[in-house]
Amino acid sequence: MSEPVWHPAPARVALVVVLLWLGVFLVAPVLTMVGGFVAPSDFSRILTVPSTWRLVWFSLWQSVISVAVTLVVAAPVTWLIGLHRFRGRRLLRATTTVGFLLPSVVVATAFLAVLPRSLHYTMFAVVIAHVYFNIAVVVRVVGARLELLDMQLMNAARTLGASPTVVWRTIVWPLIRGATAAAAAVIFLYCFSSFAVVRVLGGPRRSTLESDIALRAFGIGDIPAATVLALVQLVIVVGVIGVVRRLSGHEHGLSHLATLPPTAVAHRQRLFAFGVAGVTAAFVLLPIAALLWRSVQVGDTLSLAAWRTIFDTSLAASIRASIRTALFAGVLGVALAVLTTLAIVRLNTIGRLVDLLSIVVLAVSPVTLGLGLMLTFDIGWFDWRAKWWFVALAHTLVAFPLAVRVLVPAWRTTPIGLHQAAAVLGAGELRRFVDIDLRRMRPAIVASLGLIIAVSLGEFGAASLMSRADGETMPVMIARLLSRTGDLMRAQAFVLASLLVAVCIAALVLVESALGRSDRVARR
């Protein structure tokens, strides 16, 4: 590597800002919870009872099953998208991503609408919803790897007499192993701390650590126990992240260089490909269609009554609250993500640590975060519980690690020569940062903005704790409407869910097109 043409100072400043931010809004709340509420006896009280370990065990095995089923279900469509060129490929890929961006409450609600009553409150319902969310992760992460596969190599191997199994074992699998592990890890993390899905679809008798944390904090009012469980969860998740980092060794991101996949679908596989595309699209779209259908069903009659109420104070207020929160979280989150990315790409050793840190942040669950913030910022000037942007602070922390995953690879595509040339021509540090880095990064920044907005729109765990009566976000409102009796209210919940889907799809289109532009910039 040539000598650095930039001063480390700006990156260090960025580092300090990021650390301060995390210190105040993440570490301090966690310490407040632990220091202010937990006595040593609480640890022994919680850690010695078998039910705690049953919770851990359930969280673990349901995640493992969810990961396995997701990999199996997503394999055909990943094969199709990753290795083939066909019309509608981008559309199919975008469709599979819809699930990932939809709010968990909405997905759970949608499955409640689709599944027959006998399957409500079953393991099947929980797993199928987890699969629904996470297909996108496999398609994106593993599919991106598959796209890099050299078909010539495979063809040569086949010509030389290697069986498909041998080709798979010696060429394909080594290439996608890391990506598969990475995808599995991400899915595992999401399922492990699953909250809304387990609560809505699992019924009261199934509880993950995350939903039990909420249960104890909310229902029982036992904050010490909730805190101890949150720490247990944190330790396990950090452990899993550590193991996966060691195993996979290289980073993965939502962004990738989209080289066009080399082959068209072989003639004899046409039918199969059609089937895969059709079934996958149906699987993704069916619950959404069910939401729409339920939104026009009031009791036994078809009616637009619920839609006509969206300008009513409470529904409109929650739509406003969601948009306001998402925009605030988006702007703050992007700023935080850009600073973090700056620190990661410019500071070598420390950069790697920051990279790791940005992932560890994901391990602090939204419910824990919400609770911690509520318990920390409750005095005098720092009593922010009534501020509308308080929820957004939590969303910033929940979402910015994902944005960093998008920004880092994009930033790294900047050829160092550009900087050197500009420096020779007399451009200063700031000028180069603005004119080169930020300009090249613009699509990636837009994409991460869309991502944070989508995450904030759908976030439920923190919002359910922190939202106020006059500013409930849409997912919280949906959950509340669903828990009430009355046909119109149920229909209203489905109306809000449909609207949320529409907004999330809009955010997705933004991300998709921005990533497309980002790829073109990178190839320049």
């Binding site: 049953r54 019924g203 009261p204 009796t485």
Partner: protein, 354 residues
């Protein structure tokens, strides 16, 4: 137009009048010439006659905005988390099973209502310093679908002990005590009935396939055969649910389709209180007075299916005809509930949920 300006005039006049007459609140009330809106936080079962606050507004110039959150448990938790910086001014719906939690967290500002002497003394004794004011009472009991049992020639269960019989396997649905206040009341009923043997009762019931669901509405309107297309003819609900079945039905039946097992009932008292941090203390006190006034209390039975707490309030005949008022409901001393609630819920969760 004329009527409206008349009303506004009346409202202003009465505000001034109220400001002058209530000396304890004088200093604060005087500032309130501009209209005040009080926010009343409550749960989804708070459904008084829609126009009920109109008179209050007319008398005091104070507007009341009702904000409902899903259930009593969540309501209290959020109030505890927001203690000192509340979401509203007055909270309606903390009951004797949850009261200790709110009082421990110092959620309320004490106020002794002017109607104190008219209120049920058992209830006022639960908050002796006026931290909160009792507003209604009810009993949580096993309800059964009469037709379901008649068709099958099965005797409905009359006691909690009877429920453990295999005859009633798969038949009972209850809201989760952790997330629902009638659920908690039912858990307390079993503790009151069986003492230390309560855990064993629940273990037997677990094997007898009792269904635990998230909320009362999910249990009653989602699984109870008499109120939904559900599959369970026994449900944990209120002693006043049968009159609701009659009064809401069109045409009204002469007899309620459901009935109550009187020996399974646990008495619940609901309270309202002024939230600490409210900027409208004087107005909130007026609202508390209104909530326990005869006018408001007499509205309760037929709109919310609970008993008034004000002894001077009369109860409609149709309510008396169909509602059951058990003579000796199960109870537990609130101080004991306060001490052991978390532990009991923990043990319950271990048996039933984890």
């Amino acid at each position: 137009m004329k009527i409206r300006s008349l009303l506004i005039g009346l409202a202003t006049a009465s505000t001034l009048l109220a400001a002058c007459t209530s000396d304890s609140t004088n200093d604060v009330a005087v500032e309130t010439n501009k209209p005040v809106t009080l926010r009343l936080l409550t749960h989804e079962s708070f459904t008084p006659t829609e126009t009920i606050f109109d008179d209050f507004t007319l008398q005091t110039g104070i507007t009341v905005e009702v904000v409902r959150s899903s259930d009593a448990g969540t309501l209290v938790t959020k109030a505890v988390l927001a203690s000192g910086n509340p979401e509203g001014d007055v909270l309606w719906g903390v009951d004797n099973t949850l009261l200790s939690r709110a009082l421990d967290a110092n959620v309320f500002v004490p106020y002794v209502t002017v109607h104190r002497n008219d209120l049920d003394t058992v209830a006022t004794a639960l908050a002796p310093n006026g931290e909160v004011t009792p507003v209604d009472s009810g009993d949580v009991c096993i309800n059964y679908d009469k037709a379901w049992f008649a068709e099958r020639n099965i005797t409905p269960p009359l006691t909690l002990q009877a429920l453990t019989s295999s005859t009633y396997r798969n038949l009972l649905v209850t809201p989760n005590p952790v997330s629902s206040s009638p659920g908690l009341a039912f858990l307390l009923a079993t503790i009151a009935e069986f003492g230390d043997g309560w855990q064993q009762w629940w273990e037997t019931m677990r094997d007898n396939n009792i269904l635990v669901v998230e909320s009362w509405s999910d249990a009653y309107y989602g699984h109870f055969t008499a109120a939904s297309d559900g599959e369970r003819p026994l449900v944990v609900s209120y002693a006043t649910s049968p009159p609701a079945e009659v009064i809401f039905a069109d045409p009204r039946p002469t007899e309620a389709p459901t009935a109550v097992a009187a020996l399974t009932c646990f008495r619940q008292y609901e309270f309202a209180g002024i939230l600490r941090g409210s900027k409208h203390l004087a107005q909130a006190q007026l609202l508390i007075d209104f909530l326990v006034s005869r006018q408001f209390q007499e509205d309760l039975p037929l709109t919310q299916f609970v008993w008034p707490i004000n002894n001077t309030a009369s109860v409609p005949k149709e309510f008396l005809d169909y509602a059951l008022r058990p003579d000796n409901p199960l109870t537990i001393d609130p101080t004991i509930i306060a001490k052991r609630r978390a532990e009991w819920l923990e043990q319950f969760s271990d048996i039933m949920l984890r």
